[in-house]
Symmetry: C2
Subunit: 201 residues, 2 copies
Amino acid sequence: MSTSTKGEETRLRILERAAPLLNRHGFQNAPVSEIMRVTGLQKGGLYNHFASKEELALAAFDLIMERVMARVYETHNQHSSPLAQLIAHIELIGHGHTSMEGGCPIANSMVESDDATNPALRARVKNVLERWRKYLAQVVANGIVQGEIRADVNPDEVATHVIGTLEGGQLMSQFYGDRGYLRRMTDQLLAFVDEKLRAPA
Amino acid sequence: MSTSTKGEETRLRILERAAPLLNRHGFQNAPVSEIMRVTGLQKGGLYNHFASKEELALAAFDLIMERVMARVYETHNQHSSPLAQLIAHIELIGHGHTSMEGGCPIANSMVESDDATNPALRARVKNVLERWRKYLAQVVANGIVQGEIRADVNPDEVATHVIGTLEGGQLMSQFYGDRGYLRRMTDQLLAFVDEKLRAPA
């Protein structure tokens, strides 16, 4: 029992140290030598815990996403009104609280896995995006039911508009190393929510 | 003279064949073996025309951008009103007329070169983005001078908002292989131009 626990701790420590590196270099392209350097382990040590570099990279992606999701649900539960939940969600992502060293793991992975070169990563990213879209569409649908959001709004279209705008802002901000780009796009998005989604009082 | 011309033709043919591959795989990460396959040349043949794989990749990026810029200026010159130029520009990019196999070369390269691993590509991308921003800001500024665009609009902020929104849409569309995402974000952007930028008649 205690050996397995120690193994799990080591596994988690490896993932925590490798995650920012993988996010920066690419989940597929980060060199094993760099993973060895940041974890302080030899190849043998790494492969004790992961069958392959690919398995390690996917586990690191999962860990990052698990933590982002936890922040998303925490923020969600701080509000009971769907419109307030939507606004708080946009502010959470748009103010960079879920981004990390190397930028947005989703934007990075979307580009890295947009073709057939990395089907396992692509499946992970697709799954995360689908959950994100469904979450946002559900919040918007709840807002319509509760009369906070206009009934002629299409929840799916709003969900992809929010995601696309936030990811575009992330892309600009991480390229320029300036959060101002994401912040300005977030402001436009909040104005969009206020002017196009909010039901007339 | 004729030898040099033939050399230039071969060089251009290599770039034209390698460009979609580089855009899809990454300007840095595409394997030489794949470049050899699509061009039908051996390593020696390639290195006759380019000092290195990096030089070939940068030249391919330049060629792609040169052709996109030509489309941008062509579209610009079809209109004399700045507001019409802005709308035509958004439609040109937003309807995917400048994207290519493997998605948007700018979005791809922004992610690929957002850190210190590829300074030469990063400098190229930065230069293209600056030209794009300046172009859009100038069109908006002209629109203000001519009274077509509201005087309280900030041209730089509009420029980055347009670029960020289009790139976010590109990212979604190329990931899902569905142009609908970019088209919907383009529609929102055109609504933004109409409602937030257009000067009251």
